[in-house]
Amino acid sequence: MLQQQLVNGFVLGATYALFALGFTMMFGVLGVINLTYGVYFALGAFAALWAAKAIGLSVWLALPFGAIFAGCIAIVIDTLLLTRLRRAKAPELSSLMVTIGATLFLYTGLSVVYGTEIRRFPLDFAPSAAFEIVGVRVVATQALIVVAALLMAAGLIWIVRGTKIGLAVRAVAENPDAAALMGVNGGLVTHLVSFMSGALGGAAGVLIGLNFNAIQPFMGENMMLRGFAVIIIGGLGDLRGALIAGFLLGIIEVLTAGYFASAAKDLIAFALLVLTLWVRPVGLFGRAAAKRA
């Protein structure tokens, strides 16, 4: 049973990591608690669902479709709402507040259009083979999620570390004013980051919605609190951290439920969150942020 539980935990962890990648990027670079991330998650899934039903796309095409759609919406929201506040150097809390309002608006809007019933992708949307290796059962979609999480993380890390754009992003994250002085187009970078994190969120939505056959307007909200736990434990803004912390949390949760008590499954995530903050707030890979003057 242990092997199966480890695999279960690994797959669950992949879903957490997938969600957390875009979340930590948004948080770490744009510096704002942006609650609308959960909406991008749901929008990606719904966009892909629409594509699957209306145009008959399968997962390989619907996934980028959903991701790009979510990314575009992210740019729109960021421009409409957050840029204004950033320019006015409004207190951090105002950005938080605006995202609360926007989230309420968007979630409700989505449920007005689609209803709150749960949905799934059509049966031929993705490969559905199941296989058994060394006594462990794995389904194709689960493998897909794990691979996707690893690939996306790798891709992102390469972009951020190895390209000029990535350098610009890191510069803006660390000190937007200095970056501007050095000739970095802060606005463009912000839009790029918004797009990327929105797209990541949307992609996560498609894959997770696919794996659990559970697409409904409020799906992002449920992941949100876990998302906080993962990005804190991993370190705000750190992609490796999000990946590793995601996997770690998934495995710990499953082992807790399987060997200890299933009622503690939720509790363990938040206990770890609080413990991390009490003992090592920057998380596994975060760096202590310099205090802003």
């Binding site: 049973m1 409700t108 709150t116 749960i118 659990f212 949760e253 399987g258 299933s262 499954k265």
Partner: protein, 377 residues
């Protein structure tokens, strides 16, 4: 002569007034969850109420020609809003009776207020324990789980020889927790062994940890108390993990939804659910209702709709029996109402719960649809 004139004038006035009241609508109020994540329970009720009111008014209304007028207030699943809705309906709109609210949690807050004010309130979907104990003005037409689950489990034990089970339930919802309490009780009474009890959150989407543990214990069946979202996830993942088909899933009321087959597909075949109603019930009253609902709204009705529909007819019957809108007479009339609806024969117990459980059936999922367990059609 003057007296005669005054007399005629007065008579005319009274006549006009009487003519007015004879067509004045009877005001009813309904509090349902119409927006927010739980509106899938409130909207079917609203639709069914509307359908029933339309039919009743078309057939001449109540009390010899007075139409029913139903005012809705949305609670959005929020206790405070439900309470405000109740106060507004009674205090400002002066309704005769309140239908709803949708969720048991809301009823616990709203019930005492309405009860104090001595207005009848009828829950059509609130199945938690202790609802009708709130007070003598609180009625319930939703059949509580304590009447349905024992039938389901007994049938499973008798016909499938089930001796040991794993139980799973959503521990963060009053409805699913109540149903679990009933399950626990029934299993003990039936002498079925519970190998382990696992919990999950209604919002969870991953149940592999609990299911792997369950699979390892080799149960004869897995008994689940949860809403349809979690239920379909559990069934799907359970089969994916390799839980064999002969280990059936047995569910409480939350399973009785067409969504189960839609989401879980083939994996759901063989699932057993007990229910006071199901859409393919063959009697005429039900078939007429299903057809009318489908024509008006395009979807099949679900249990929430069925219960709401019946309740409206019960209300109409009670109003007629009471001969008016006097609250005390209405309350008495409700208590004594006997009717036959889509749920079968209906009457209230002294405790104002549904008295008749003869309509309860055990259903089995087969090829995407529910059928009566044991039928091979």
């Amino acid at each position: 002569m003057r007296i005669a004139l005054v007399g005629v004038f007065a008579a005319a006035l009274i006549g006009v007034a009487a003519a007015q009241t004879s067509k004045e609508p009877i005001k009813l109020g309904a509090i349902e969850v119409l927006t927010g994540p739980n509106n899938r329970y409130g909207i079917p009720a609203q639709r069914a109420f509307d359908l029933a009111v339309e039919e009743i008014n078309k057939a001449g209304g109540v009390l010899g020609g007075r139409p029913l007028a139903l005012a809705y207030e949305d609670s959005a699943g929020n206790k405070d809003q439900a309470m405000n809705a109740a106060r507004k309906l009674i205090g400002r709109d002066k309704v005769t009776m309140i239908l709803g609210p949708t969720l048991s949690n809301e009823m616990f807050a709203v019930g005492p207020v309405v009860n104090d004010r001595k207005i009848p309130i009828i829950g059509t979907s609130t199945t938690a324990t202790g609802i009708t104990a709130i007070g003598p003005w609180v009625f319930r037409t939703a059949m509580p789980e304590s009447d349905v689950i024992p039938v389901t489990l007994k049938t499973a034990r008798d016909r499938l020889g089930i001796k040991k089970v794993v139980v799973m339930y959503a521990n963060d919802d009053a409805f699913t927790k109540s149903a679990y309490d009933v399950m626990k009780d029934s299993l003990a009474k039936l002498g079925v062994e519970t190998l382990t009890t696992e919990t999950f959150s209604g919002k969870d989407t991953d149940f592999t940890a609990q299911l792997t543990k369950a699979k390892n214990l080799n149960p004869d069946a897995i008994v689940v108390s949860g809403h349809v979202d979690a239920a379909s996830g559990i069934i799907l993942q359970g089969r994916q993990l390799g839980i064999p088909k002969n280990v059936r899933f047995i569910g409480g009321n939350g399973f009785n939804s067409p969504k189960l087959a839609e989401i879980a597909g083939e994996a759901a075949d063989g699932t057993l659910v007990g229910s006071p109603w199901f859409v393919a019930k063959k009697d005429e009253v039900n078939q007429k209702f299903v057809k009318a609902y489908k024509e008006k709204y395009g979807d099949d009705p679900d249990q929430f709709a069925a219960q709401a529909y019946d309740t409206m007819y019960i209300v109409a019957k009670a109003i007629n029996a009471a001969g008016g809108t006097d609250p005390e007479k209405l309350r008495e009339a409700l208590q004594g109402t006997k009717s036959y609806g889509v749920m079968g024969p209906f009457s209230f117990t002294e405790g104002r719960d549904p008295a008749d459980a003869s309509g309860v059936v055990v259903l089995e999922m087969n090829g995407g649809k529910f059928r009566i367990f044991g039928e091979t059609s």
